[in-house]
């Protein structure tokens, strides 16, 4: 960022960068921040610097008397993982403070450093309180907190106080920062490496408390950086360097199993996340692009899985034909797509809510039928509720997915094998998704979402495009299903209940309708958190329901929003429309 040369930014953004979405009434009311004592005090800046340094210094001392809480935090000058998080946060805060005033001031002209320091400071305080609280509770008393912990807490408090006292300046919109392309690519690579490292670390964290602290850390830093406006810039450069980003993302995903040191435990979670994400990406074509609400999508995954299972070499398979797996994949996908056509061609004419109910009913019919075809209530096809167990592992040209393989000295177990296969499937789905989105068909879908009647009057084949999205989505889910059958070893009807469809939909909605990154984020959150947070396992669904309601209320476009979707959900937000237009013009200019 330091090379950012303000080569004729079209307009000097006049508003403070982060104020856009938060509070429209901020301008009218006296902001609570202005009532903070010592606001604007020149001492704020040195206080912040000192706070960050104290925070870091504290991490090098022992936090805990006992060595069995949150990893080992009891050794001086040997910070544990929980402490390293605070070192990182402290360093980020230092950089931002130095950008606020001092040697990095050139950078500070683009970033809303004050708001960002505030976010980081408050995050650090929350983190320290959480960490010290955990130590106190788990090791039986506040007495077990060592001085290092207190020092870091004081540092965090100083940082937060400084953040509250610092006053935001007018900053230039990072949207108009002109940066050299090598810097952009480096940023993307660093970002990807961080994602890889973070994911590996998060999966490795053993206890729930450390995991929650890590999430808190990630959230604080992300919040701080987004307040600073860094994400606006990252969003823009990732648009500009899309190929690099995609390549980087796949490199990261590909390298992930090698970070696991041969352990298959985390890989099992990772494959589950991937299956879920791949299916959700397929659903995103239906919901996010074509705007059709499908509440029975899990049935298409199930259809693929049942085809995979009945044509497998399992002793319980009911069809005595064992074609090679590639054929099975195709058959499963086509069977799913056929179901999609059968259910879609009459129902896609009924619109909106009714379609949701029809698909829900279809999903239930599928599940019940699979549970009934056991020979008593219909032909023997699925063995009823018992399903088809003992599905053997895949075997591609002698490559046995059930056996561990050693590559470059690192053992890759059964789940790692499936992981790579699923990665390929996910890649195919992402490719289909992005390319369709960016084509004549994609434009047709947007037009249908915007105004179906007008689209039809302009000659868009509304019904055809809807049916294509519906059947195409089913095809992709069927494909993933065939692999899932082998991965799961058994296929039973109760894997395909309505709640699973709701989960898939939630991944799409939570992450961001119509974006790939959003769905990946949503799928990861929804699958990973329950695995890691065993202590809330019983409240999982309760929280899930609540999150859905809150998301629709406060951020209906999802965490990683597609700009168009954002506009659709905020029809009367003129400021947002103007801003997105600016982004658009910037991108068009960058392309030219």
């Amino acid at each position: 960022m330091s090379t950012s040369t303000p080569s004729n930014p079209p307009t000097q953004a006049t508003s403070v960068a982060p104020a856009h979405s938060d509070h429209d009434d901020e301008l009218v009311k006296v902001h609570w921040l202005d009532r903070v004592p010592g606001r604007g005090n020149p001492a704020a800046w040195p206080l912040g610097l000192a706070g960050a340094l104290v925070l870091i210094a504290g991490t090098f001392l022992s936090w805990s008397y006992t060595s069995d809480v949150l990893g080992d935090l009891s050794v001086n000058f040997w910070p544990g993982g929980v402490q390293i998080c605070m070192i990182v946060l402290g360093l980020v805060a230092l950089v931002l403070l130095l950008a606020h005033r001092g040697p990095l001031a050139g950078l500070g002209a683009w970033l809303d450093t004050a708001t960002s320091v505030r976010a980081l400071g408050l995050g650090a305080v929350a983190y320290m309180l959480g960490a010290l609280g955990t130590i106190a509770v788990k090791s039986g008393g506040i007495i077990n907190i060592n001085p290092g912990g207190w020092i870091s807490l004081v540092g965090a408090l100083m940082l937060a106080a400084s953040g509250l006292m610092l006053v935001s300046r007018q900053t230039k919109d990072p949207l108009f920062a002109k940066t050299s392309s090598w810097l952009e690519i480096c940023t993307i690579i660093v970002l990807m490496a961080l994602v890889l490292f973070g994911a590996a670390y998060a999966l490795d964290v053993g206890d729930g408390a450390s995991f929650v602290l890590f999430l808190l850390f990630v959230a604080s830093v992300a919040w701080g950086l987004s307040k600073a406006g860094v994400f606006t810039w990252i969003g823009l450069i990732s648009q500009k360097n899309r190929q690099v980003l995609m390549l980087g993302a796949f490199a990261v995903a590909f390298l992930f199993p090698f970070t696991q040191g041969g352990s298959d435990e985390n890989m099992s979670i990772a494959t589950q996340v991937l299956i879920f994400a791949a299916t959700a990406l397929g659903l995103n074509i239906v919901v996010g692009l074509a705007g059709l609400l499908d509440l029975g999508y899990i049935a298409f995954l199930g259809a693929g899985a049942y085809v995979g299972a009945t044509l497998s070499a399992s002793a319980f398979a009911t069809i005595d034909w064992k074609p090679p797996f590639l054929i099975v994949v195709l058959l499963g996908a086509c069977f799913s797509a056929l179901l999609g056509l059968i259910i879609g061609s009459p129902t896609l004419r009924v619109s909106g809510d009714y379609l949701a109910i029809v698909t829900l009913a279809f999903g239930e019919i599928f599940r019940l039928t699979m549970g009934n075809l056991d020979g008593n209530n219909g032909p023997v096809l699925t063995n009823g509720p018992n399903g088809i167990p003992a599905i053997p592992d895949l075997n591609f040209f002698g490559f046995d997915f059930g056996q561990p393989h050693v590559i470059a000295g690192i053992t890759l177990g059964r789940f790692a094998n499936y992981y790579f296969l699923l990665l390929v499937i996910a890649a195919i789905i992402i490719l289909v998704f992005t390319r369709l989105n960016n084509s004549r068909i994609g434009r047709g879908w947007v037009a249908i979402r915007e105004d179906e009647k007008a689209a039809e009057a302009m000659g868009v084949n509304v019904f055809g495009l809807k049916l294509f999205a519906f059947a195409g989505g089913a095809f992709l889910a069927g494909m993933a299903g065939t692999v899932k059958a082998h991965h799961d070893v058994s296929v039973t009807p109760d894997q395909y209940i309505f709640l699973e469809s709701a989960f898939l939909l939630a991944a799409v909605v939570l992450g961001g309708m119509g974006t790939v990154a959003g769905v990946l984020v949503g799928a990861t959150i929804l699958k990973l958190l329950p695995e890691k947070l065993r202590f809330v396992a019983d409240y999982r669904l309760l929280i899930f329901g609540l999150v859905l309601v809150l998301m629709m209320r406060f951020r209906p476009e999802g965490l990683v929003a597609s700009q168009r979707r954002k506009l659709e959900f905020h029809e009367d937000d003129e400021e947002l429309a103007q801003r997105i237009e600016e982004v658009h013009l910037e991108e068009a200019e960058a392309k030219a």
Binding site: L431, I441, D451, K453, A457, G459, V462, A577
Partner: protein, 288 residues
């Protein structure tokens, strides 16, 4: 900007084969007859005006022509072929329209809006789009170029990347025309193209309509602005209570006492836009 003269040039050659022939078009909603036995013929290179008090059934008649409604009786022929009452089939056959209450794709850019109009004249399907072969690139490039060309034709060349919803009202109307032109129509139906425009914009609009005519299209215009319509059109139909009251040259219609009677006696005036809006909204009308 070639033909910017504001007077109708020549009376078109009415001996040629008509582009549009509507015969006995009747539309009933339950007990209400909104359009009754309307005939209309449009010849190549002709600008036909459709006037009438609010609620006279002008927009309903448009909806019958363009397949949004299936007429209860009557048939619509385009270039001699009977066209099925399906919006898409109508567009494919070469008739495009704009809407009275602007129906742009608000969250798309101007360029994208026009590119959607090209949808029915392009053919890239799923596999081509996914594989991105040379055919796809060529077609995409051509679509973009054509859309930009049309934006320039209507005078919006510099607003290509603007979001439709952010554009001024007059520009939105012109963008709708560009989108309709993108479907390569032989005949374009404009539903109140100058509603809500100031005199200067109205002037620009009539220039634009002349240029569209000069590029070889026939035009049918619904309008309330009498001066606009009598300056613009070669022929005018006056619709009252769903029936054609008078038709003829602007001069004839203008001086016909029945037309004046219909406007004054109907108790309507041109400012009553709300009622017109309600009548034009197809969903509302259907419920009535």
């Amino acid at each position: 900007m070639t033909a910017t003269d504001t007077t109708p040039v020549s009376t078109p050659d009415s001996s040629g084969a008509p582009i549009l022939e509507a015969r006995g078009v009747t539309m009933r909603f339950g007990g209400l007859t909104a359009v009754k036995d309307v005939d209309m013929t449009v010849h190549p290179g002709e600008i036909v005006g459709l006037i009438g008090p609010n609620g006279a059934g002008k927009t309903t008649f448009f909806n019958c022509l363009t397949g949004l409604y299936k007429p209860t009786e009557g048939e619509v022929r385009l270039l001699g072929e009977v066209i099925p009452p399906k919006p898409r089939a109508v567009v494919m056959a070469g008739m495009a329209r704009t809407f009275q209450n602007i129906r742009l794709f608000a969250n798309m850019t101007a360029l994208e809006n026009v590119m959607v109009g090209r949808y029915c004249r392009t053919s890239s399907m799923a596999l081509t789009s996914i594989l991105r072969g040379p055919k796809f690139r060529r077609e995409e490039e051509a679509t973009r170029a054509r859309a930009q060309e049309l934006l320039e034709f209507v005078g919006l060349g510099s607003s290509a990347e603007n979001l439709a919803r952010n554009m001024p009202y007059g520009d939105q109307r012109r963008l709708e025309i560009a989108r309709a032109l993108a479907t390569d129509p032989k005949l374009i139906l404009l539903d109140e193209p100058t509603a809500g425009m100031n005199p200067q914009e109205t002037k620009q609009a009539s220039d634009l309509i002349f240029r569209i005519r000069d590029s070889g299209l026939a035009v049918v215009v619904i309008e309330h602005d009498m001066r606009f319509i009598f300056n613009l059109c070669d022929r005018v139909l006056c619709l009252v209570r769903g029936e054609v009251l008078v038709q003829g040259s602007p001069g004839e219609v203008q001086s016909d006492p029945r037309v004046i009677e219909a406007y004054i006696g109907g108790g309507d005036d041109d400012e009553d836009d709300d009622a017109a809006g309600a009548a034009a909204d197809p969903t509302k009308e259907e419920q009535q």
